[in-house]
């Protein structure tokens, strides 16, 4: 798996994201490409305005910054995930996604917006688990965080 950084322009707005080149989309995303799976809106393109704030005159929406994965600690035969939430945005919720070797990412936990860690008592097999998070603000999602991986048995 390689990390891919992508840049797109939608109606004058710049959206930058990242994902793996397998395109392991999260649940709820409609596309299968890297860019779609890591969209800042979680698959639903965000409205974007021009310099004048779009045809409605409303300010252009701010892109939601992504959390940053910090550490993945072995704890009690399972894994404990820690990340850093974006300083510049108050998340309404945090989605923590997990995948085991050979599987696709799926949402494992939906957490309060200020939570920055989770003990994953289900990650107990002798396999490598990979995690990523994203921040939800209103209906918008941040890009996914970086990924972090570990085997709880090793």
């Amino acid at each position: 798996m390689r990390n891919v950084v992508w840049v797109v322009m939608v109606s004058g707005a710049v959206i930058v994201g990242c994902g793996d080149d397998k395109g392991g989309g999260s649940s709820g995303t409609s596309g299968t490409t890297s860019s779609t799976s890591a969209s800042s809106s979680g698959g639903d393109p965000q409205p974007a305005g021009d310099d004048a704030g779009g045809s409605s005159g409303a300010p252009a929406p701010q892109a939601v910054p992504a959390p940053t994965m910090d550490r993945l600690v072995k704890m009690g035969g399972a894994l404990h995930v820690m990340w850093v939430n974006p300083a510049s945005a108050a998340c309404d919720a945090i989605e923590l996604e997990r995948k085991a070797d050979g599987e696709a990412f799926a949402v494992a936990y939906t957490l309060g917006g200020s939570i920055d860690n989770k003990h994953d008592g289900q990650a107990t097999k002798d396999t490598t688990y990979t995690y990523r998070t994203r921040c939800k603000v209103g209906a918008a999602y941040s890009p996914y965080s970086n990924e972090i991986a570990r085997n709880p048995m090793k």
Partner: protein, 484 residues
């Protein structure tokens, strides 16, 4: 829609900034689950530097020699931490840290306590040998209700640095700011040019400035750790000391869960005291490790060029669950001021010996552990049980008893004994050198290790022992001793 060069330049900037942010966020992890570009874990101190003045003692209301009488009110207050929005704090006498109490050994301390908080509380006198009814635990005292009062009164038998805090819902009440220092001066104190009591804490603030009460998985496991380090309630403290002068720092860790490992770069610290007063044989160290509740008393001669600054650091410490992977964090600054007029005197190398309690066979063994419950939440146990289901230990009044505290868990736990000092005889089977015997009331029990200690239980009543990671104590890692 505007256009032209400015828009293109701005677009380029946006792309560059966004790309940079995402490149940071897209960093991969290594095989040990460590992100390559971890974000800040502890927010750096913010706001203007503040000179660290000496704590001002609460005025003594008594005119009677040998009596210190003070009013102590637990009440709501407001405080600004660095650049954060204003925070509602819980205070003793309106400040965080709370009221500073100062007395001499042998004084009778009278505290007229009033609870102006919206919920019940008590005041526990951490480390002070006193009658059990004055210890502020629910084993011996009804909670002081909102609007209620209580008179604490006891003789200060020992010199040293102590502190006080609630002993109910302590994880929340202490986190909100309810703690204060009690300094008890000895008949003779070592010479120093500057002495400061440093109350070490951290605080985790929500975006709106509220103190976080969230008990997430990390807080449950490690104790709440804040995102801002505090020295005497200040996130960016600076202490001016005379160049070449003798500096005395009296440290107390009042944090819920954080261990402090204090280092003054370029300086060796001479430890002259700990929980129970002066150590018989002071010793030198590069760092002072303090679990919650512990106190240390250190001296050093400030070295460097006049006008220069030294950043005092909190070094990483592995206390379990890979907590030692955190980076060092700045704690405060020392600014070297006008030089001392004469060379500094030698630092003390001896104090009065302490009574060595007789050793004997282990009379009581307790085992600390952690394990997930049926819901997957971790619980913290003593002998497999959580308080109040931990059977009390009964000891006849006046007995000297040897305890062994085992720790089967994957992390260190600070063991705190109320009402009595103890002497650590061995750590994980390694005997304590005779010249390192100290009076302690809080001691780190190593992960997968043990401590063996001896204490004289010579005050009747019910006394608590517990892990001083406050979340662990509140979640059940606590037991009771009945001295009768």
């Amino acid at each position: 829609m505007s256009g032209g060069v400015s828009s293109i330049a701005r677009l380029t900037s946006v792309v560059a900034l966004s790309l940079g942010a995402v490149l940071l966020a897209c960093g991969a992890s290594d095989e040990h689950g460590h992100a390559h570009q971890p974000g800040p874990v502890v927010a750096p101190p913010t706001g203007a530097e503040a000179e660290l003045e000496a704590l001002v003692p609460v005025p003594n209301k008594s005119q009677t020699p040998g009596v210190v009488e003070v009013d102590l009110e637990a009440k709501l207050g407001r405080k600004v931490y660095g650049d954060a929005p204003e925070t509602e704090v819980w205070t003793y006498n309106g400040t965080v840290p709370g009221a500073f109490l100062d007395a001499k050994v042998g004084d009778r301390l009278v505290v007229n306590f009033k609870n102006a908080l919206p919920e019940p509380t008590t005041v526990h006198w951490h480390g002070v040998r006193l009658p059990a009814a004055m210890d502020g635990t629910l084993a011996m005292q009804q909670p002081v209700p909102a609007g209620g009062t209580f008179r604490y009164e006891f003789v200060l038998k020992d010199a040293g640095l102590f502190w006080f805090h609630p002993h109910m819902r302590s994880d929340i009440q202490v986190q909100k700011g309810l703690y204060g220092a009690l300094r008890v001066r000895a008949a003779s104190e070592p010479e120093s040019d500057v002495e400061r009591v440093l109350v070490l804490d951290d605080i985790k603030l929500e975006r709106d400035g509220r103190v976080s009460e969230t008990l997430d998985d990390n807080s449950r496991m490690m104790g709440r750790e804040g995102n801002t380090l505090l020295v005497n309630g200040t996130s960016n403290a600076r202490l001016t000391v005379p160049t070449g002068g003798v500096v005395r720092l009296r440290l107390v860790n009042v944090a819920n869960g954080r261990f402090f490992k204090v280092r003054v770069p370029g300086h060796t610290l001479r430890v002259i005291g700990s929980d129970g007063g002066f150590v018989p044989r002071p010793y030198d160290t590069e760092t002072v490790l303090m679990s919650p509740g512990e106190r240390y008393d250190v001296l050093f001669v400030a070295k460097g060029a006049e006008g220069s600054e030294i950043t005092v650091m909190n070094e990483p410490h592995e206390r379990g669950h890979e907590s030692g992977m955190r980076p060092a964090s700045p704690l405060m600054k020392l600014r070297l001021g006008a030089p001392r007029a004469t060379p500094a005197p030698p630092l003390p190398d001896a104090f009065a010996p302490i009574e060595r309690l007789p050793e004997g066979p282990v009379a009581h063994t307790v085992t600390l552990d952690e394990k997930p419950n049926a819901n997957g939440d971790y619980v913290f146990t003593i002998d497999g049980k959580t308080f109040p289901d931990v059977p009390p230990i009964v000891i006849p009044n006046g007995q000297v008893r040897v305890w062994e505290v085992k720790n089967d868990s994957d992390m260190e736990h600070p063991f705190h004994l109320h009402g009595f000092f103890f002497q650590v005889l061995a750590r994980s089977g390694v005997a304590t050198p005779a010249d390192r015997l100290l009076w302690k009331d809080t001691e780190i029990v190593p992960s997968k290790g043990s401590i063996r200690f001896v204490a004289r239980f010579d005050e009747p009543g019910s006394w608590m022992y517990h892990c001083h990671i406050l979340e662990h104590g509140e979640l059940g890692m606590m037991g009771e001793i009945k001295v009768q």
